[in-house]
Symmetry: C2
Subunit: 195 residues, 2 copies
């Protein structure tokens, strides 16, 4: 198995190894040497696939961003009352975050030291803005409470959703995407109080 | 002013400089040299106050933990229906987090490489557990929804509250502790939906 590893290497497996190492050591703290060791292939083999680590970062955060932006193109995010569209988007954000956990984790940790990082931050801001617009439209309809400022409400919902990368582990207690998504939607839209 | 700096140095000012540097560079990435430069005093002057950087970390996270645990001793956290006590605790968590922003930020970033870090993580878990117990009691009373598992609900509320350290800046748009605390309590307990 180990000897065959080298031959079966694809850009896809290299990417998943790189994302794991970036998340463990931080992007700044990761060298091509670290990637080479973790992947078990030589640096020149890595250079055969990509010009450098920034390209691996670009591909990794693109995967997370494509997942998130893809949500906004779904029917339920485009058609219907803004409050229902918002609810759909929040639910799907949780599902994408869990199904693409290492990629979204990396995206959320991006700092902005390189061009790729600044681009990723810009795209994140754009996504946040699109969700904030939906919240604003839902508030204008009277479906969303108007005593919490839109930008602040958006930040709190993102805070709740994004915190999932800090504690969710696929192997712990078998909590699925669905259970977590249901919980987030219930708390964010209906609140903890009942009765 | 600058020349007098050295004489007016107190353990308190040294602590606030250390916390700023820890938050900027990460605790692991901070050397006594960095602290000496940032504080504008010699390393031996720092050693006059503390045996090393771990003691500064201990004092800093203690300040954050004392603020948080202090909430649990307040009357409104101890007397009354669990759901109301929980609401009080969540509101006060936001206020403490904002008033002790750099200290709580540092606490939330602690990783667990040193004894002090592991102790801080243990204390954080204890605090989370105390809040989870309150949520459980409120659910048993029928005041809190029972279709979101207690541990998961606690994590989501902490996720929302703790995310504040990522975006709250005292100088931005003059949003006060009160406004943010109100918003968190409204979203967490009553939800975004209205009507």
């Amino acid at each position: 198995m180990t000897t065959a590893k080298r031959d079966t290497y694809t850009p896809e497996t290299l990417l998943s190894v790189a994302v794991r190492v970036f998340n463990e050591r931080g992007y700044d703290g990761t060298s091509m040497e670290h990637l080479s060791k973790a992947a078990g292939i030589s640096k020149s083999s890595i250079y055969h696939h990509v010009p450098g680590k920034e390209e691996l970062l670009r591909r990794a955060v693109s995967r997370a961003l494509d997942g998130l932006f893809g949500i906004l193109d779904e029917d339920h995010a485009r058609v219907g009352r803004p409050a229902d569209r918002l609810e759909h988007v929040v639910r799907r954000m949780v599902e994408v975050l869990i199904s693409e956990l290492p990629y979204v984790t990396l995206l959320l940790r991006v700092r902005g030291n390189t061009g790729t990082e600044r681009w990723a931050l810009e795209r994140r801001r754009e996504f946040d803005h699109r969700v904030a617009e939906l919240l604003k439209a839902a508030a204008a309809d009277g479906d969303i409470r108007d005593d919490v400022e839109v930008r602040l409400a958006t930040r709190l919902v993102f805070g709740m959703v994004n915190s999932i990368v800090e504690w969710y582990r696929p192997d712990v207690r078998g909590m699925g995407e669905r259970e977590v998504a249901d919980a987030v939607v219930r708390v964010a839209f209906a609140g903890l109080r009942q009765g």
